[in-house]
């Protein structure tokens, strides 16, 4: 009886341990939340970069967003904390090449202050269409073949297409975080946060390499091309 009791207790303990492993290493496995920089006037600044290939473990060839934390360090997460009812100034350094949209409707800039975003090509010789590089150009619609990604928060009706670098560019960054000397497009815009809550955001360009409709893998994984805005 005593031996059997001990055996039962040991089995029970082992099962509890297994459940704990399951919860910690599978269920709760997700990226951490990083706060945006809060400016003197109460507004927030969010600095992001988008890379064509993350270049690190576990998925080196996945596209990904990164965010700069208040200490100025690039962090690999897509869960960002923002203040409620405040202006957020977003700067995106976009290092990926152009893919083009599936639904061209998303070629427009929506929900930003002024309905525009500002685009600047850096170290990027020009568009495939032969147009000159953007230089602090404010746009409300961009040609639908140009985006590499979008930054879209459907619940806020906020959507900004992120123009990609030209395919002919050789100076391409392959490992995140990307230093600024690689070819990229800088996109900046501002939007006003709503009341407290958690809002999901995602990319709408079919940019996931090797997945059907370009929408698997990083496009369906929080920490890469999907994330949350934790507005508080």
């Amino acid at each position: 009886m005593r031996v059997r009791l001990l055996a039962v207790a040991a089995t029970f303990a082992a099962l509890i341990a297994l459940v704990a492993v399951y919860v910690v290493y599978f269920l709760e496995s997700g990226p951490p939340a990083v706060a945006a920089v809060i400016n003197r006037d109460g507004s927030a600044s969010l600095t992001l970069q988008v890379v064509g290939s993350y270049g690190n473990h576990p998925f080196p060839d996945w596209v990904s967003y990164l965010v700069k934390d208040p200490s100025g360090k690039w962090r690999h997460t897509t869960i960002w904390k923002l203040p409620a009812h405040e202006l957020v100034h977003v700067t995106v350094y976009q290092f990926d090449s152009q893919t083009g949209l599936r639904n061209n409707f998303l070629a427009q800039v929506r929900g930003t202050v002024g309905g525009v975003a500002t685009y600047t090509d850096v170290g990027n010789t020009g568009k495939g269409s032969g147009l000159p590089p953007y230089n602090n150009t404010s746009l409300s619609v961009i040609p639908p073949s140009e985006p590499a990604h979008t930054f879209t928060v459907p619940d806020l009706d906020l959507s900004v297409p992120l123009v990609g670098i030209s395919d002919s560019t050789s100076n391409v960054c392959a490992v995140a975080p990307c230093p600024m000397h690689f070819a990229h497009t800088t996109i900046s815009f501002s939007f006003r946060t709503p009341g407290a809550g958690t809002y999901r955001w995602q990319c709408f360009v079919p940019c996931a390499f090797a997945f059907l409709y370009g929408f698997g893998g990083p496009m369906q994984t929080i920490g890469y091309m999907d994330g949350l805005l934790e507005v508080a």
Partner: protein, 289 residues
């Protein structure tokens, strides 16, 4: 413990009659309660012709299920109370060795067959007269409303993970807001750009799967102004649970001014859209280039 046959010759109460009386009373109380007290609160309300049809069916089905529910519950309760072995006695007593009864079986079969055929007939007639009751009917609807020709066509495009809407009568303009006029027949054409979604306009009583390469038609006529929720009803990936939006129902004139404002506002992006089509075939790229 020993096993003994049941003592015979004891006066048995008329169980059948008792059960019938209790059942009749319970049904007579519950059916009116369901129809007049609970009935009005059964979703999905009376905003559109579809929800009215659905509500009517739900009330009828609930009311019809009451006699069955009561039959089983009353019988089970009665049996549990009256047909129990005496736990105090150490003897196991057998019940009467009844094997079957053709009359009861035949009655049961006939009654259930009549119910089923009646239900199917009712459902079919309902489906035909209510223009498909808001369900997606595929590209060739079984039942069209009489004023289908003058209906406002709205294309619903599901994509991972956003609903967009095109109005083919207004240059195929595409928006992320669903705005509909009141008191006008509306013809939804639901399709998808990638995986299977399902367009569920909850308060409108409209549900149609969005299947890539297929056109799924649903009709609705809305009677009052207001707003409604749209949700995705078929698992479509990461943000399936968040693929929702709020639609608005406005007066005919307000709709006209809204749609013209939208056409003007979105002119720059509308010129980039592919021509309006009932289905779209995006390249099933696995290679992002």
């Amino acid at each position: 413990m020993s096993i003994a046959p049941e003592k015979v010759g004891r006066d048995e109460p008329h169980h059948g009659r008792n059960i019938a009386i209790i059942w009749a009373i319970a049904t007579a109380i519950m059916v009116p309660v369901i129809i007049w007290v609970v009935g009005p609160h059964i979703p999905p309300g009376s905003l559109t012709d579809d929800t009215r049809a659905q509500h009517a069916v739900d009330v009828v089905l609930t009311a019809l299920s009451i006699p069955l529910l009561m039959l089983v519950w009353v019988y089970l309760g009665y049996a549990v109370i009256n047909f129990r072995a005496d736990p105090a006695s150490g003897t196991i007593v057998d019940g009467p060795p009844l094997r079957s009864n053709t009359r009861i079986q035949a009655t049961w079969l006939i009654v259930s067959a009549v119910l089923v055929v009646g239900l199917a007939a009712y459902g079919t007639v309902d489906l035909l007269t209510e223009n498909g009751a808001g369900g997606g009917q595929g590209s060739n609807p079984l039942a069209k409303p009489s004023d289908a020709r003058s209906a406002l066509q709205v294309q619903v495009i599901g994509q991972q993970w956003l609903w967009t809407f095109r109005y083919p009568g207004y240059g195929g303009v595409e928006t992320a807001q669903l705005v509909l006029p009141v008191n006008r027949e509306i013809e939804f054409h639901v399709t998808s750009l990638d995986v299977v979604h399902s367009f569920w306009a909850i308060e409108l009583g409209v549900k149609a799967d969005a299947v890539p390469g297929a056109d799924n038609i649903a009709y609705v006529k809305i009677f009052r102004k207001g707003s409604f929720q749209v949700r995705c009803d078929e698992l479509c990936g990461l943000w399936h649970g968040h693929m929702n939006t709020t639609g608005h129902i406005v007066s005919g004139s307000a709709f006209n001014s809204w749609i013209h404002a939208t056409v003007t506002k979105y002119a720059a992006v509308t010129k980039y859209l592919p021509p309006y089509s009932l289905t779209y075939y995006p390249i099933p790229t696995r290679n992002a280039t």
